[in-house]
Symmetry: C2
C-alpha cells in the first residue's frame, strides 16, 4: 500500500506543477468542430505541465463539439464572452472542417483581438490558415503541415511559407508543421518563456526524448539543422510535393506520367481532362 501512496504522490509532484509565481500566464486553446485531436492535445499536455501556465479551452460557444473523425466529444471551458484574458493563443488545425471555421467572421474577429494583446501566439498544422485569414501572417515567415505548404502559400501570398522546419518563430508568432509537431512547438514556447531547463523537464516527464530544440527556424536568429526535404513530383491537383516516402498513384496519360497523392486527386484530374476533350 505504501508503494501505491508513493506512486500517487510521485506522479502528482512530478507532473502537476505548483503554481506559485505572480507571472502566471493564461493559455487559450481555440477549439472548433472537426478540430484535429493531436494538433491541440500535444500542446495542451505540454503547456498544462509548464510552470505557472493556466491552460483552458475556448470555442465560439460552449456546447459539445467533436474532434476530427468524431474521435472525441469535448466540452470547451469558455466561449468568446466568458473567456479570461489570454496571454498565449494556441490554434490547432483541421481537415475538411477547417475552412468553415476560418470563414466564420466571429472566429477571426476574436483571434485578431486576442492576438493584439497576446504575449505569444501559436498555430499547429493547418491552423495557420486562421492567422492567414486574419492578416496576421502577412509579411511573416511561417509553416504548416508538409502536405499543405503550397496551398497555404497561395492562400497567404504576402507570407513566406517554409516547408523545411518543424516550427517557425517570427516575432511573437510561432507556427508548426503537421499534427505531432505541436509537441515540439509547445516545448519551444516553454523554452522561450520559462527557460530550457523547464522545457527539458517537461520533455522528460512526457518521455518525449525525441525533442530537438534546434529543429526550428527562428527569424532573425541562427538556423540550425534545417535541411530541405527532397521533393520528387508535384500532384497537379492539390500541388502536394510527393516524396519517395509517400504512397501515391502514378498513371500514364498519352506520353506523360502523372502522380497523385490520392484517388481523389486522380479523379479530379481525369474529370478535368474529360471536360477539355
Amino acid at each position: 500500500m505504501r508503494v501505491l501512496i508513493v506512486l500517487f504522490l510521485f506522479i502528482h509532484s512530478f507532473l502537476l506543477q505548483a503554481q506559485k509565481d505572480t507571472t502566471k500566464l493564461n493559455v487559450a486553446i481555440f477549439l472548433y468542430p472537426g478540430v484535429e485531436l493531436l494538433d491541440f492535445a500535444g500542446p495542451l499536455e505540454v503547456l498544462a505541465n509548464a510552470k505557472d501556465m493556466q491552460v483552458f479551452t475556448v470555442a465560439a460557444d460552449t456546447g459539445k463539439l467533436y474532434s476530427m473523425r468524431k474521435s472525441l466529444t469535448i466540452l470547451p471551458d469558455y466561449n468568446f464572452k466568458t473567456v479570461p484574458k489570454v496571454d498565449i493563443l494556441v490554434i490547432p488545425g483541421a481537415g475538411e472542417s477547417l475552412m468553415a471555421a476560418v470563414n466564420k467572421p466571429e472566429n477571426i474577429a476574436w483571434i485578431n483581438s486576442v492576438y493584439a494583446s497576446s504575449k505569444m501566439a501559436m498555430s499547429i498544422c493547418t491552423g495557420a490558415a486562421f492567422f492567414a485569414k486574419a492578416g496576421i501572417l502577412d509579411g511573416k515567415k511561417a509553416t504548416t503541415h508538409w502536405g499543405a505548404t503550397h496551398m497555404l502559400q497561395e492562400y497567404a501570398p504576402k507570407s513566406t511559407i517554409l516547408d523545411n522546419a518543424r516550427f517557425v518563430l517570427d516575432g511573437k508568432l510561432l507556427t508548426t508543421a503537421g499534427v505531432s509537431a505541436g509537441l515540439d512547438g509547445a516545448l519551444f514556447l516553454v523554452n522561450e518563456l520559462r527557460g530550457s531547463a523547464e522545457a527539458q523537464k517537461i520533455a522528460r516527464a512526457i518521455e518525449y526524448d525525441k525533442w530537438d530544440p534546434s529543429a526550428g527556424f527562428i527569424v532573425g536568429k541562427s538556423i540550425a539543422k534545417v535541411s530541405p526535404k527532397s521533393h520528387k513530383v508535384l500532384d497537379p491537383i492539390c500541388k502536394m510535393k510527393l516524396t519517395s516516402e509517400d504512397v501515391f498513384i502514378t498513371k500514364v496519360y498519352g506520353n506523360q506520367s502523372v502522380s497523385f497523392c490520392s484517388a481523389h486527386c486522380q479523379e479530379m484530374y481525369e474529370a478535368d481532362l474529360k471536360s477539355k476533350k
Copy 2:
C-alpha cells in the same frame, strides 16, 4: 476558392481513411477521471487514422469527466453496458487519480472480460497498473513510464518490468513507456495488424517522422536498438532512478549524500529520519 476546396478534399482524403474492408476492428479507449490527456490522445489520433479501425471512448459511466490537471472536459462515447464488442483495448495512465480507478472492481472486471476476447490490448504509461491489478501482467514482460518502473515491479512481482524499451509486446499485450510513447506503441500496433506501409503512412500524415519501429522489445523475437539508460542514483523514497538529465535535489545527511526527485520525497525522507531519532 478552388485552392480552399482542394485543401478541404486533400486533407479529407489523406487523413480520413475510407472504411471498406470487412475486417473492421473496434478499438475501445478506456477513460476515467484524471486520465492523462496525451496518454490516450496520441493512440486515439493514430488508430482513428488507421484503415478499418472504428475507435471510440468508454468509461464506467458516460457523464462528463476531466483529464489530468482538468486540462480537458470529455464526454465518453459509451459506458460498460452500451459499449460494442471490443477487438482492441487501449488503457491510458494517470497521476494521482490512477489508483482510485485501478481499485474500482467494476473497472477491473470489465477489463478482464474485454481482454479475454480481444485481439490485442495496449497500455500507455502507468495504465499498465490496470493490467497488473487484473492479473493480466503475471508472467509477462512489460514497461511503463521511466519514473514508475520500480514501483510497477513491486506492484506486479510476477511480471518482469523493463526500463529500456519504448514499448514491449508480449503475446497480444502491448505496454508502452510514458505519455508520448503511446504514439510509438499505437503505430507499432498498426504495423502488426495492418502492415508497415499503413503505419508509415500514418506516421507521415501526423508528421511523426521520429517514429522508430525498432525501438521496442518483442518477446520471442529479436531485440533491436534497446540500450539501457544510464542510472546514476536512486531516490530512497519513490525509488526513481535519477539520471544526469533530471533536475533533482541532492542533500548531505551526516556523512551521506542523498538525492531526491522532488521536494516532496525529500520531505518524506526527512520526516522518516526525524521519527527514527
